[in-house]
Amino acid sequence: MKQKDIFIAFFRSGMLGFGGGPSAIPLVHREVVLTFKWMNDEEFSDVLALANALPGPINTKMAGYIGWRVGGFWGMMNALFATAIPTVVLMILFLTLLAAHKDKPWVAGMSKAVLPVAGVMLGVLAWDFVVKSKKSLGWLWAILLVLVSVLALEFLNIHPGILIAVLLITAFVLGSKKKEKQVKGGQS
């Protein structure tokens, strides 16, 4: 019953993971490595590194790839379905219900009250990204890149996609140079 196992593994890790895909990675790990033993720790961290090298939501990449390895094309479809669809259905039901009753004053109140909470969550996430940037780049570069981004997005009105594409290309070029240096430098 491989397909059933795939479904259970990704349904569980999807339904129990709050706070977006990345926070559900430990749950996926538990299902894939401990419960169903499809991979060992090393293989799992390999897949994680692989998924991180590509853009897009991390959880569906992991689910799709692991499903594919375990059960072929249908394993992939199954894993993707189990990860995404149940929570999408919940979301549609929940929000449609809210929208249907939004002229009632107490429902309108609910929708207003939830806004500052979303603001705080987003602010915390933004700060998280700043702290991580500081850790990997140091304050100087982190602040410089933040300022460049503010300038580009707010004052020059550049599409965020273009800004990110430019940053990605710069990173690729810088990374390649570093690699050359390391090769020339020998042991390091």
């Binding site: 999807g14 993971g17 709050f18 706070g19 977006g20 895909g21 990345p22 390999d46 692989l50 991180n52 090298a53 897009g56 939501p57 991390i58 959880n59 569906t60 990449k61 790839y65 993707l80 990860t83 995404a84 929570t87 999408v88 979301m91 549609i92 929000l95 107490w106 309108a108 109140g109 609910m110 929708s111 207003k112 009250a113 939830v114 806004l115 500052p116 909470v117 979303a118 603001g119 705080v120 969550m121 987003l122 933004a126 700060w127 990204f129 991580k132 940037s133 990997s136 780049l137 982190a142 890149l145 933040v146 981004s149 707010e154 990110i164 990173a171 690729f172 810088l174 990374g175 690699k179």
Partner: protein, 177 residues
């Protein structure tokens, strides 16, 4: 062509969002609020808050809901496909190349350099959420401060689960607003 627009609106954040679903939130906002005007800032923030109160990956929840709202079940399917398929296809077809590069300095640098930009995008969104919240259509200054400070402490200091904090805010809103 609404389906083509839906595809583009989620394809672009999907291929530019480095570092998982949450980093594509501001990119999705840019498409669905600023470019296509499918949702207002207020509606988007409501969706995000309720999406955070539910389990599962955030990017697919938003894609599925917005797609459904714009063009029904087929719209949801297109949005989900655009979110998931490109990176999925890359992952499977480029496997051998990726295996070689997975720990390469290029890849590490890419995630590192994009982070500050994502931080700024998230920061801009945060500001617009609060500006919206203190306006007439929102909760107003006093309630915004009360809810904002309370949820900051609950989420960050006391580590209360987001689902409970959102539920609490909903109850507060139903009674006081």
């Amino acid at each position: 062509m609404i389906y083509w627009q839906i595809f583009l609106a989620f394809f672009i954040p999907g291929i530019l969002g480095y570092g998982g679903g949450p980093s594509s939130i501001p990119l999705i906002e840019n498409e669905v609020v600023d470019r296509y005007g499918w949702l207002t800032v207020h509606e988007f923030s409501e969706m995000l808050a309720l999406g955070n109160a539910l389990p599962g990956p955030i990017a697919t929840k938003m894609a599925g809901y917005i797609g459904f709202q714009q063009a029904g079940v087929l719209g949801a399917a297109v949005a989900l496909f655009a979110t998931v398929a490109p990176s999925m296809i890359m992952m499977i077809t480029l496997l051998s190349i990726l295996l070689k590069y997975k720990h390469s300095p290029q890849v590490r640098k890419m995630t590192q350099l994009v982070r500050p930009a994502i931080a700024v995008l998230l920061g801009i969104m945060t500001v617009s959420f609060f500006v919206n919240s203190i306006s007439v259509e929102g909760a107003g200054y006093i309630h915004t401060i009360i809810i904002g400070v309370a949820s900051l402490f609950l989420l960050e200091k006391w580590k209360i689960h987001p689902a409970y904090v959102i539920a609490g805010a909903l109850v507060y809103g139903a009674i006081f607003l």
